[in-house]
């Protein structure tokens, strides 16, 4: 260890760290405080006496109540959960097989295929939704959860494939060879040895995929019409902004409740998630 002066550590480490934390967490804090702030405070000017812009003097649950009682928020939450879970599972299954094949099997055109998959990921959703809308209409899937469960994987599979391909490459191929000598087939070696070893990577890909589909906006806006089919990001924005009136309290309550499941998923898998991002398997 290098011996350094204490003030240096403060200046170069703690201070930038504190700035960074405040910077990233402040919007979340603002969202939370707005959700519990009564309307009188929300619409009052900061210059009036007793103003408390950074906290609230009379916390209230009225926005939460309003959100849950006057809008279809619980339905949106359920829709989002269902759609995100199903599309994540589809994408993980496809991504795992594709990533394994691209990382391990030598076949004609494998490099081209890898690049092609990556390129599909680069096409912006804001363009892709136009042809996809056509397909969804022809297949009569519009305004059903399937419209999103089947279109989200178009973004998520390339993403999972690339992430998992990288992860599979870090696993020594001798593990697999040894399993094959030990009596496993190629598929058996993959299922019994490689997949358990790759669980951190698979979980990381899953968390990312889940978050991406949870937050997705454009497809959900375009493919879902009726209020009871909407997802949280679309529902909150389309139902709680009426004309030029922003129902800030309910908007923020919706955002807060909408981010809770993602936060839970993150903290539940965080141990795996971190090793998945940083680590591979040592021999």
């Amino acid at each position: 260890m290098l011996i350094e002066r204490k003030w240096k550590k403060w200046v170069y480490f703690y201070l930038p760290m504190a700035v960074f934390i405040v910077f990233t967490l402040f919007p979340f804090y603002w969202m939370a405080i707005t959700a519990f702030r009564p309307d009188e405070e929300l619409y009052a000017t900061w210059r009036q006496p007793n103003a408390a812009p950074l906290w609230t003097l009379a916390p209230t649950l009225e926005h939460m109540k309003g959100l849950l009682q006057t809008t279809a928020f619980p339905t949106w939450l359920w829709n989002t959960m269902l759609i995100a879970t199903v599309s994540t599972i589809i994408s993980l299954i496809c991504g795992t097989f594709a990533g394994y094949a691209l990382a391990r099997l030598r076949f004609q055109g494998s490099e081209f295929l890898g690049t092609a998959i990556f390129i599909t990921y680069l096409v912006p959703q804001t363009l892709l939704f136009i042809p996809l809308a056509d397909i969804i209409r022809d297949m009569q899937l519009g305004n059903t959860p399937w419209a999103l469960m089947l279109t989200y994987p178009t973004i998520l599979i390339p993403f999972c494939t690339w992430l998992l391909m990288g992860y599979f490459k870090t696993i020594p191929k001798e593990l697999e060879e040894c399993a094959r000598i030990d009596g496993a087939t190629r598929f058996g070696a993959m299922v019994r040895i490689i997949l358990p070893v790759a669980i951190p990577g698979i979980l990381s890909a899953g968390i990312f995929a889940f978050t991406l589909s949870w937050n997705e906006f454009i497809y959900a806006l375009v493919f879902m019409a009726s209020a009871d089919q909407k997802t949280v990001p679309v529902g909150v924005v389309s139902e709680l902004i009426r004309g030029d009136i922003f129902f800030w309290g309910q908007l923020m309550a919706g955002a807060l409740l909408g981010s809770v499941p993602v936060a839970l998923v993150y903290s539940f898998f965080v141990e795996y998630y971190v090793t998945g991002l940083t680590g591979s398997v040592k021999g």
Partner: protein, 358 residues
């Protein structure tokens, strides 16, 4: 009976690289055969073809009477130990060792008994419940060996199993592997780039270079009668000294001459008179001369390396650097003028073009 025959074995990669060229080897039952050579010589590729991890371009491999060319690895009745151990990180030591037996459907009791027996042989009984990451390098090595021996395969394959260990542990494991082989009496093929490992472990040693077998023989045979200059230089440490000389007849005797260097050589190479050859002499065949004779020459020592059990003297002769290995009691310091003599019975001669032994 597990005799391994390798006939006309070739490996050509898709990019045209010819990694293994016409290799023919007969490995007897219970033999410990070592493939040794510098990296890229094709030794590991050969082993991987025996294991079934690499496709065979042409040729034939038999284990016993079975041709195994197209059998998948699991049907070849082999076990392999890898350089990086390849322990399954998510399984305990017990499960690592039991995996191969479980895959083959052995009854639970039998699996337990075999794993415990192997663990006892290797002294790892206390580690059976641990995960690989909780083990030291030497312990992982033992588990990897244990995983190979529980299956009682017909052939063991070792791919540089000791090169990830530190020097001291490597020497210790080397002895243990040899002891284990004597106890289990199973045919083994062992790949290494370390000639000391090759010499100490092998019943026979195969020296390879550029995909070609250079020489096959017992360790001392390779050391005493190398087939060519490559084998001569590869086996032995410090390496054999080579000096290009002209063979001249004079006074009814044969002489090897180079710059500042003229010694008498045996009559057996009289056919080379008037030609240039490469003279090879091992460091221990160079001694300090008692007086002036036909086999000695004068030079100056530039570096003295005392190793305790011996002293290495570095000097120049015939325009090239050479090493002599002398008794630790020898009193010589750097820059001393010294007369060295070569042991005429231990001189090697190589054709300068083909590099084969003369």
């Amino acid at each position: 009976m597990a005799r391994v025959s390798i006939r006309q074995l070739n490996k050509k990669y898709d990019n045209g690289f010819h990694a293994v060229k016409n290799v023919n080897l007969e490995i007897e039952d219970k033999e410990f055969l070592v493939l040794v050579g510098p990296s890229g010589c094709g030794k590991t590729t050969t082993l991987r073809m025996v294991a079934g991890l690499e496709e065979i371009t042409s040729g034939e491999i038999r284990i016993g009477e079975r041709v195994i060319n197209d059998l998948p690895p699991m049907d070849r009745d082999i076990a392999m130990v890898f350089q990086n151990y390849a322990l399954y990180p998510h399984k305990t030591v017990f499960d690592n060792m039991a995996f191969g037996l479980q895959m083959r459907g052995y009854p639970k009791e039998e699996v337990k008994k075999r794993v415990e027996d192997a663990a006892e042989i290797l002294g790892i009984e206390a580690l059976l419940a641990r995960k690989p990451r909780q083990l030291s390098g030497g312990q992982r090595q033992r588990v990897a060996v244990g995983r190979a021996i529980v299956r009682h395969p017909e052939v063991f394959l070792f791919d540089e199993p000791l090169s990830n260990l530190d020097a001291k542990l490597r020497v210790q494991m080397r002895v243990e592997l040899k002891r284990l082989h004597e106890r289990l009496e199973t045919t083994a093929i062992y790949v290494t780039h370390d000639q000391v490992e090759a010499m100490t472990l092998g019943t026979r040693v195969v020296v390879m270079k550029d995909g070609l077998v250079q020489q096959v023989g017992a360790p001392l045979e390779l050391y005493g009668r190398p087939a060519n200059k490559f084998v001569a230089g590869f086996i032995g440490s410090p390496a054999m000294n080579f000096v290009d000389v002209a063979i001249q007849a004079g006074n009814g005797r044969l002489w090897a001459e180079a710059q500042g260097f003229r010694i008498r050589v045996p009559d057996r190479i009289s056919s080379q008179a008037g030609k240039r050859v490469t003279l090879g002499v091992r460091p221990e065949a160079v001694r300090i001369a008692n007086g002036v004779d036909d086999y000695s020459f004068a030079t100056e020592v530039d570096v003295v390396e005392p190793l305790g059990n011996e002293i290495l003297l570095n000097f120049r002769a015939g325009g090239v650097p050479m090493v002599a290995r002398v008794d630790p009691g020898t009193r010589v310091s750097a820059h001393d003028a010294v007369r060295f003599a070569l042991d005429p019975a231990r001189l090697h001669f190589f054709d300068p073009q083909s590099e084969t032994a003369l």
